[in-house]
Every structure is written in C-alpha cells, then in structure tokens.
C-alpha cells in the first residue's frame, strides 16, 4: 500500500523506504521478512549478514531445526528476507537523524560502505537513506581481551571465531578464554581437532548451560584453568605462549600455546543512536512489549535491546514484533500497549481508556 505523504518528494536523490532496518542477523532479517510481506518498502543496512549466528558452529535450540549450522541458518534467513522483497545492502550505519518535513517525520540514516572503509581511517564516502520508520537490530560485537600482544597476533594464533579457524589448529595446543556457552562450544569444537584445549576463565564458576559443561567434562584433552586471566600474549611470528595471572594468588605463569580463542562475550555499539533513543546503564536500547523505543517511529529488537535473554529465537521473535509495530505506526493503527517513558510503566490500552472514562 503506497501512500505518498507530503514532504517525501522533497528529498530528491535520497532513497526513501517505509522501514530501514539496521542489522542483518536474526532480529534484522526476521523484521525484514515480516515488513516486506506487509508490502512495506524495506531496506536492511548491515555491516555483515548473520552477525553472531554466522560465527556459530552448531545450533540445537532454534525451534524448527533439531540441529543446524550457523552458516546454514543465516543462508535461510537471508533467502527468506530477499524473496519476500526486502533489499539488503552491506553498509555500516554510522548515524541516524530526524528530519521534520511538513509535519511529517522522517529518519535519515547515514552509512559508510564496507568497500570504502580504509585502514587508516581516512574520509569515508557515505550514503544517506530516508525511512519513515527505523528498526534497530544491530546486535552485539565480540569483546577483545585488551592485553599486550593481542592485536599483534590476530590471525596469527589469536582468533575470535572457533568455527572459522579451528581446522587450522590440528594437533596443536590451544586455549579458549571465557566461561559462557560460546566458550564451551568453542572448546568442544577445538577438542576434536587440537591436541590439547585449555579453558581459561577468570572465575571459579561458569555461566554456560549445564548440558554443555557436562559434555566438555567428558573430553579427555580438555583442561580447566580457573580464576585466571591472560595478561600477555607472546610469540615471534605466531603465538607461542600466554602469560597467565591467577586472580586469587596474583601468581604469574606461562602457558605454551599455539592458539588462543577469545570468547568473553560481546558488547552493544549504540553510539549511532545516542541522544535519539533511551539507553540503559549498559547502553542497550530500552524497549517495551511492542518493540517500541522511547522515540516514536523507531523500534528495536534482539541483542541490542535491554531484552534479558540473548538468544536467536528471542531476537527473531522481537524482529517480527518490531516489523508489525512499524506497520501499525505507518498505517496509524495504535499499538496495544503504551509506555510512559518517565515511569516505564506498561499499561494495556484498554485499561487506560477505562481509567480515562472514570476520571471524566
């Protein structure tokens, strides 16, 4: 349903969409599928397709598939989005601004292109897109250890993707840093190719789910190094060792390693929407049950939000909600729940009307 609102024509060469989705993984691609199937002109802008899913080896808890590889799931999500009519463009969004034109609000989404992203940070050629609504689904990016030697040896023994690089460490000695599901999954994968795998974690307890911890404990070539952190990575051409520090005793020791896999979680990057939408104390985007953010017309879904459970199925579910809420917004249909952003109280619209009636 194409509705020409006043002001859109004034944009001239800017490409205009009903929905612009920032991020191309579970949340973003599901939102794209739903938005496009509602005949909304949909664009996905993303720096990569698949995000965290793309670097996940095996997924056993996505309903509908007993077992599926990350890369296969990404291929299906991408195919569905494209076949439903959404456009996907590989460009990283760097800023979003509002444009109020003849009383009609539009969002200007600014990007730079992956191709034009130069190493020394020289001026990047960007593009601008206009959208009537925006869905923020930019997920999270893996954290680094931030220790000396880390950046020097990226690709030379230091890796952030066991799925991608495990095969290169056949019969070698490797370590996985982390205590969550990703760390354990990486360790399991590596244990089938490497000679020995250490799991190095700064605490005594693990965040990972019980099932995978037990699977890991069955493996004969896996050893835990607890209450410890890597403080330095050493080597000549490639990684040769890591310096460990025991957090309880402060004692340091050196561990001979050929590879180090960093799986210590990930962070959101919401600088591009700072000031536009409300964030929580860890910079995640605040949303309500309708995937609405504090700014009308901007929705958010998945790991980038304050949703407590960072799972693919949750992100996909939220992506569909965001798309449907965006559809309602465009067609000026009111969403069921409202949120008072000063108190963050959710109220069912029907109850609100009831209260209003009583008060008058």
């Amino acid at each position: 349903m194409e509705t020409k609102k006043p002001g859109l024509e004034k944009l001239g060469t800017k490409k205009t969409y009903d929905v612009i989705i920032v991020g191309g993984s579970a949340a973003g691609l599901t939102a794209a599928l739903y938005a496009a199937r509602r005949e909304l002109k949909t664009l996905v802008l993303t720096k990569d397709i698949g995000g965290q899913i793309a670097i996940t080896e095996t997924i056993k808890n996505y309903p509908g598939w007993e077992k599926i590889t990350g890369s296969d799931l990404v291929k299906i999500l991408e195919k569905q989005a494209i076949e439903s009519g959404a456009e996907i463009v590989i460009k990283e969004v760097v800023k979003i601004e509002e444009l109020k034109d003849s009383g009609r609000e539009l969002f200007i989404v600014k990007t730079h292109s992956e191709d034009e992203h130069t190493k020394n940070g020289t001026k990047l050629k960007g593009e601008e897109y206009a959208g009537r609504t925006v869905i923020l689904a930019s997920g999270k990016t893996p954290r680094s250890l931030n220790v000396p030697g880390e950046s020097k040896f990226v690709g030379k023994g230091v890796s952030y993707c066991a799925t991608c690089d495990a095969p290169l460490f056949r019969n070698k000695i490797v370590a996985v840093v982390g205590g969550g599901n990703s760390a354990f999954e990486a360790a399991l994968l590596l244990s089938s190719v490497a000679k020995k795998v250490y799991i190095i974690h700064r605490r005594d307890e693990f965040r990972a789910f019980e099932k995978i911890i037990n699977d890991v404990k069955q493996k004969k070539n896996l050893e835990f190094v607890l209450s410890s952190a890597i403080v330095e990575i050493k080597g000549s051409r490639f990684v040769e060792a890591a310096v460990l520090e025991n957090r309880k005793t402060n004692k340091r020791s050196e561990l001979k390693l050929d590879g180090i896999f960093v799986e210590i979680g990930s962070d959101v990057d919401t600088d591009f929407v700072k000031g536009l939408v409300e964030l929580d104390e860890t910079d995640q985007i605040k949303t309500n049950k309708n995937a609405e953010t504090s700014h009308p017309g901007i929705f958010a879904a998945g790991d980038v939000t304050d949703t407590p459970f960072k799972q693919i199925i949750v992100a996909a579910g939220e992506g569909s909600k965001a798309a449907l809420a965006a559809y309602n917004y465009i067609h000026e249909i009111e969403n069921k729940y409202v949120i008072d952003w000063s108190t963050h109280k959710h109220e069912h619209k029907a109850d609100l009307n009831k209260n209003e009636k009583n008060e008058s």
Binding site: E57, S159, C164, L168
Partner: protein, 79 residues
C-alpha cells in the same frame, strides 16, 4: 589466470569469496584446509597467518574477503 581459495567448510567469508568468483564467472580451485593438513601448512607459510579465506590470484595473495583488493588485482591482470 589461476585463482585459489583456501577455505574451511564453515566459514561465511569463504562462502562470500567463492560466490563472488562464481558470480563473475571466474574459475577457481577450492582448497579445504580442514581436510588437508599439508594445504593448511602451505597456506599458513604463504600468508604468514592462520585466518581463512586466503585468496591467491596468479601468485598474489589476499587475506580475507577483501573485495577492493581483489578487484584491484583482477583489473591489473585484465589490462
């Protein structure tokens, strides 16, 4: 023109690189370093690093799916 793509089966950027050459109608040799430890060693020695994909176009190496660099090399070879 001889194109080699050193890759592993579960590598999204490897897939993108292979798709890129397929779309351009360019033939390439796919070397699965997870199945072939000698090939893995060769790739690590040649590229001085362990990341995949490593793309070799007539002896010139590109580490990762670095599209601008690949296009630059292809352009040079076609001149």
């Amino acid at each position: 023109m001889k194109i080699k793509v050193y890759s592993t089966p579960q590598c999204p950027w490897c897939d993108k690189a292979k798709q890129y050459f397929k779309d351009k109608g360019l033939e390439f040799e796919e070397i699965d370093v997870s199945a072939d430890p000698d090939a893995a060693k060769e790739m690590i020695e040649k590229s001085g690093q362990m990341g995949v994909p490593v793309i070799e176009i007539d002896g010139e190496l590109v580490i990762g799916f670095n599209r601008p660099k690949i296009e630059e090399i292809l352009k040079k070879l076609n001149e």
